[in-house]
Symmetry: C2
């Protein structure tokens, strides 16, 4: 698959788009997640979807000093699982990375682009979006605008008939709602894809009779069968973030994109506006629809690494960052059965490792990552378009980030 994928990129680009009539064309049947077309599509989502702007404000760009470390490309490490040897650049290629930026002590020590992405481009952040929305929601909660102890229906009466109606805002924020919904990416009938079809991120079949828009779909989600109740266990379900986005919009009486701009993006010294995929009802795809430049994503990671203080201002309250870093209850997380993430938790939509480096990380399907290592003073921002949605990038993600951290701390240099 790799070869086809890369061949697709090299061939037939004209007028800014894969040429009609050429063997490699625009995403077939508008299936933007399907390889090989996903590679172009993930770097050009706003050319395929309605979007809402996330304004960068009109302040100066926050400069990122450069201190490139060319040796990083050949930094060796062993893959998860099979233990096979690889290196940093080889791992990026293996996961079909579209770009990677590494900051060490705030300086760019690595920056590379691949595929259809460049330094001025934007890439779909997939579920890295969740951590951004979770942070914004936690900021509203810290500010008193969003009550984490309230029921979801306090803000969204429209969800009274769904399983979300009886959940608290906090249960949504930590994904401990008990809902009947599948996040099985390999199953085309999974709830996650029904949700995507409701928002027209995926094409609809002829005679489509499902929900119109993300928020109408949320109203149809029912309680999990059996004895499990809200709060019992972590279960990674994208729709929680879309409920959280709706909560953010209601609490702030602004669309999610505007809240994000006001609270974060306009204060970050971002180089570019970001962009949020919206459905035809105007709802952001809060679970995965943020598109942004890679260096701007790294700036956000740097702000989180520094306890929320960046570009001369306390952008995210220090208490919000501290709460994320403390994480949630690993016992509830363990019930989700992620054997490769033993001891982890999920707090305000961030993955928290509870490891010696106190790392916390945002992850998205097809290989997206924003990885923060406070002890190594390191931030890794990575975009990718792996042909497979889930997990295929894992063997070359965490071990690569750990090797990098050790190297930058001088243990592996």
């Amino acid at each position: 698959m790799t070869q086809d994928h890369n061949t697709a990129l090299a061939a037939g680009w004209r007028d800014g788009f894969p040429t009609a009539g050429h063997a490699v064309q625009r995403p077939r049947e508008r299936a933007i997640f399907a390889p090989p077309h996903n590679r172009w599509a993930f770097s050009h989502l706003r050319e395929l979807q309605p979007t809402r702007n996330v304004w960068r404000g009109n302040g100066p760009v926050a400069q990122l000093p450069r201190a490139l470390r060319p040796e990083l490309d050949s930094l060796p490490f062993a893959r998860f699982g099979d233990g096979a040897p690889t290196d940093w650049l080889g791992a990026l290629q293996a996961i079909h990375a579209d770009g990677a930026v590494v900051l060490h002590r705030g300086r760019i020590v690595y920056e590379r682009y691949f595929g259809a992405l460049g330094e001025l481009g934007q890439h779909m952040a997939m579920s890295v979006t969740k951590s951004v929305v979770g942070t914004v929601a936690a900021m509203l909660a810290a500010d008193g605008a969003l009550d984490e102890h309230a029921r979801v229906t306090h803000y969204i009466p429209e969800l009274a008939g769904s399983a979300f109606g009886s959940a608290t805002v906090r249960q949504v924020m930590d994904m401990t709602t008990a809902i009947d919904y599948s996040e099985e990416y390999a199953d085309p009938d999974a709830g996650v894809w029904k949700h995507a079809r409701a928002g027209e991120l995926l094409p609809r079949p002829a005679g489509y009779a499902g929900a119109e828009g993300y928020r109408q779909f949320l109203q149809t989600v029912q309680a999990a069968p059996g004895a499990i109740r809200h709060g019992d266990a972590f279960a990674y379900r994208t729709v929680n973030t879309d409920v959280l986005g709706w909560l953010v919009a209601r609490a702030a009486t602004q669309p999610v994109a505007e809240v994000l701009s006001a609270l974060v993006w306009s204060r970050l010294g971002a180089e570019q506006d970001a962009s949020f995929a919206v459905d035809w009802q105007g709802a952001e795809f809060a679970g995965g629809g943020l598109c942004c430049g890679l260096r701007d994503l790294a700036r956000l990671g740097e702000a989180m690494r520094l306890g929320g203080f960046y570009n001369g201002a306390q952008i995210v309250p220090e208490a919000v960052v501290a709460d994320i870093r403390r994480g949630a209850d690993p016992a509830r997380f363990a019930l989700a059965g992620y054997t490769r993430l033993a001891g982890w938790s999920y707090r305000n939509m961030w993955w928290v490792a509870h490891d010696a480096h106190r790392t916390f990380t945002a992850q998205g399907i097809h290989g997206q990552a924003l990885h923060i290592d406070p002890v190594a003073e390191m931030v890794v921002a990575r975009f990718a378009s792996h042909p497979l949605a889930a997990d295929a990038h894992l063997p070359t993600s965490m071990p690569a980030f750990r090797a990098l951290a050790a190297h930058l701390m001088g243990e592996g240099g």
Copy 2:
């Protein structure tokens, strides 16, 4: 209609979009040009359509000093046609203006927003887009990258089977091609709307079997019946600009949006990125799909007023601006039968008045305008969402601009 239109605006806005379930909802059947929904839609096009970014670059914003003249609101003038008395603000309200900025000697003397537009918003420029694309094309021609004497097929072999194949680039630039195509906005089956449906700017009926994308539609356009030949007469046809956009993309080997950014938008000191509606094949709607902030449109007008020199640089070559100001042949223009525009011409997609003030202007349906009056040292940028597409704004456009010019020159103060 006015009352409904304004009532629509006041009512039912929640979560950033007209509320589902409320009497006033999102554009019905996705018909974004239909009132009253057009008012919201024209100020939020990228939330309804795929778009391509027009990057502002990373330079500082070109400051526009303010010297507001509050008396302009009540500036009286007589409407075209019936001669009825009105005033500047009344005329803006009558045409459903969404915003107006007036520059006099480079200073903002008037700035007001209405409807769903604000100073940070963007509005669809409609056919004002044509003048922007025409200017970019003329810049490429001046630079030698685009040969105005060449046949269209020299750059676009795909158009060999259409009427455009035998036209020259210059004939496309001045809209003197002889094609079988209707620009009758009141006729839902007119070519202009077929073109829009091909690009999915308008919704397609069930069982749609027309062209897929703007450029496929262009390939179907046939020669005008009868004896008329390319070059004989001016005929205002949107598809010419879409051919010109395709020519620009081919000559520059970049999408139109990127050419516009590189040659103009990134040098203008714009406040915002602009946005270009694209179809699912990635082609810009060059005839009408530019969306931008109102002050940025005024900056472009100011650059044109100043012979192309603005923000410390010769953005548009002086010879290109001079060529536009000289205009085309009014005799060929007269054949189009615009009785209210006697003596005018159309050059590089600008309307040229050949009047004492040497005014030249960009115009778009539903009331869009970028009006440049070199003698009065005045630029007017105006966005609107008049319920009717064509001409309804004319009685309050040119006479309003003339009254304003006279006033600012001290004749009417």
